[in-house]
Symmetry: C3
Subunit: 247 residues, 3 copies
Amino acid sequence: TGVATMKFKSPPVNSLSLDFLTEFCISLEKLENDRACRGVVLTSAIPKIFSSGLDITEMCGKSMEHYAEFWRAVQEMWLRLYGSNMVTVAAVNGSSPAGGCLVALSCDYRIMVENPKFSIGLNEAQLGIVAPFWFKDTFVNVVGHRVAERSLQLGSLHPTPEAHKFGLVDELVPEDKLQEKAAAVMAQWLALPDHARQLTKSMMRKAVLDRLVAHREEDVQNFISFISKESIQKSLRMYMEMLKKKK
Amino acid sequence: TGVATMKFKSPPVNSLSLDFLTEFCISLEKLENDRACRGVVLTSAIPKIFSSGLDITEMCGKSMEHYAEFWRAVQEMWLRLYGSNMVTVAAVNGSSPAGGCLVALSCDYRIMVENPKFSIGLNEAQLGIVAPFWFKDTFVNVVGHRVAERSLQLGSLHPTPEAHKFGLVDELVPEDKLQEKAAAVMAQWLALPDHARQLTKSMMRKAVLDRLVAHREEDVQNFISFISKESIQKSLRMYMEMLKKKK
Amino acid sequence: TGVATMKFKSPPVNSLSLDFLTEFCISLEKLENDRACRGVVLTSAIPKIFSSGLDITEMCGKSMEHYAEFWRAVQEMWLRLYGSNMVTVAAVNGSSPAGGCLVALSCDYRIMVENPKFSIGLNEAQLGIVAPFWFKDTFVNVVGHRVAERSLQLGSLHPTPEAHKFGLVDELVPEDKLQEKAAAVMAQWLALPDHARQLTKSMMRKAVLDRLVAHREEDVQNFISFISKESIQKSLRMYMEMLKKKK
């Protein structure tokens, strides 16, 4: 059918580790170069979580070189996904904070399972860190300036009905209808001629993609100098402690 | 009353042919220079269709010179209408695909007849072509980035209730109330002092207008090189065949 | 609690006079420099009016030097408020036209008293004047391009339900719940680490703030040459006469 499915399966919570990101980029590139593949559905093989976002262990107590390598992998993932020529549908079958939300935001269409326990949002501020400008640009493109401003400052994790109301997800479905719905949406998008659709997508996203490309190394340096601050390291360690206790 | 009405009457479907565009620009310029005229209502004299958009016969099997001349006329129409000093109200009394939708989007206010058979949208992608950046800019200014991105990629023709929900049209009315409503809206806008209203309008639209002015010749060349591709010509011929069979 | 309240009390209608603006900026700067203060609630001590906006007497029949001084004070107020490191909540307990609306728009969050007699909006066009580009930028950031374009051209004063529908205010409350609600919202925002919240806010607002900073003197000159036109002076005098008769 020309449609691939990428099922995230990196227990326990599909953190975007350096390994995960590297593998994700390789898989995406393969599909991108496969002329038989026109669309990809992103979903999770792990119950209740789509992706928990950037792996905090990659940002804590590591070397400057490691931070740089990690951040370049995060950038690369976004550049490839947001700029993909394929139709990309996020079938969000669990919570999706921070980098997990970015993955969903970078797709063409977001379907989320309606479940009072699931939430989605760029909650970086809650951890004492700041979403980079290209997370913000992607977010503003989806929900507009006002909602993005408030949500980013509050580090909000939106329950599914609110996420839908804001347009952060395009559609809510019961869990057992998710794959069927994703297939139907994909079929609708694939009914269009690839070439016109791709040029249109590129026209819509180019300004935001170009902005990171133009400031990529600067953005790496910003990340390193921010993340290696002792105050930030301390926040992240405390956050990890809290997560461990939660378990 | 200081209000003119331009009734499109170019059977069968008010296609924006070179002749139509030329006449439209001349009429608009006359009104613009007539100090007694402060507002114009755009509507159709043909049942069920506001305007079917750019005339495909002008883009098919013609010379490079013709394509250039045609495209400059399309640009000119938009620059004059989007930048008009008059109050411009679209009284959309029929379907309004592609360039027809652009005409409506370029007005200050859009009233559409509520009718399950009518639809409106920039459906270029369905024909295998791509709306130029200034169609896109105009569209984003009206419906925002997310809706524009999806609608343009899918080449969506929105039924009237959806068009209203997205803000693509400002108001829906029954067919027999359209002219009355257009007159009431016009009166509301004309109650404002012209000078302040015109400066405000110019402030809101200048960035997008300036962008085409700065890239006008480049945009003509892009159009020519795109439209004269054999693959695109083939798509357009197929589309015209399909339209003929429909009749 | 780290939260200050600024209660506007400049009878009869909290006009933004040069004195008011100067005092406002000094108070804001003091709070900004007070490390114990993390948030500020803006509200009015005068029944039924939040602020009536720029004081027209400052713009009428005065010297060029006075116009320049006044306009720099308006700019300064906005630069400080829109760029504040504190959490800023507008508790809008009365009507809020023009510059009063700008004050509210420049906060992080707007709560308004639900009252059929109250309205809010940038109604400059009704007075025959034009909101400057940075009023417009602030407005577009809150309500989006389409709503801003129409509202500014019509000089609309929106009743509270409409203001809420457009996102111009975030929440409506009965009068007796306003302070309680403002305190609750403030507590929610202050739960976030200041540093991350401030960097995020700055990232969201920097482009618009920088634009005025880069064109500040030009904007002063524009204001002077516009406001000192005889036609504009006449409009303002007529408007003041009308206000006097209303009383």
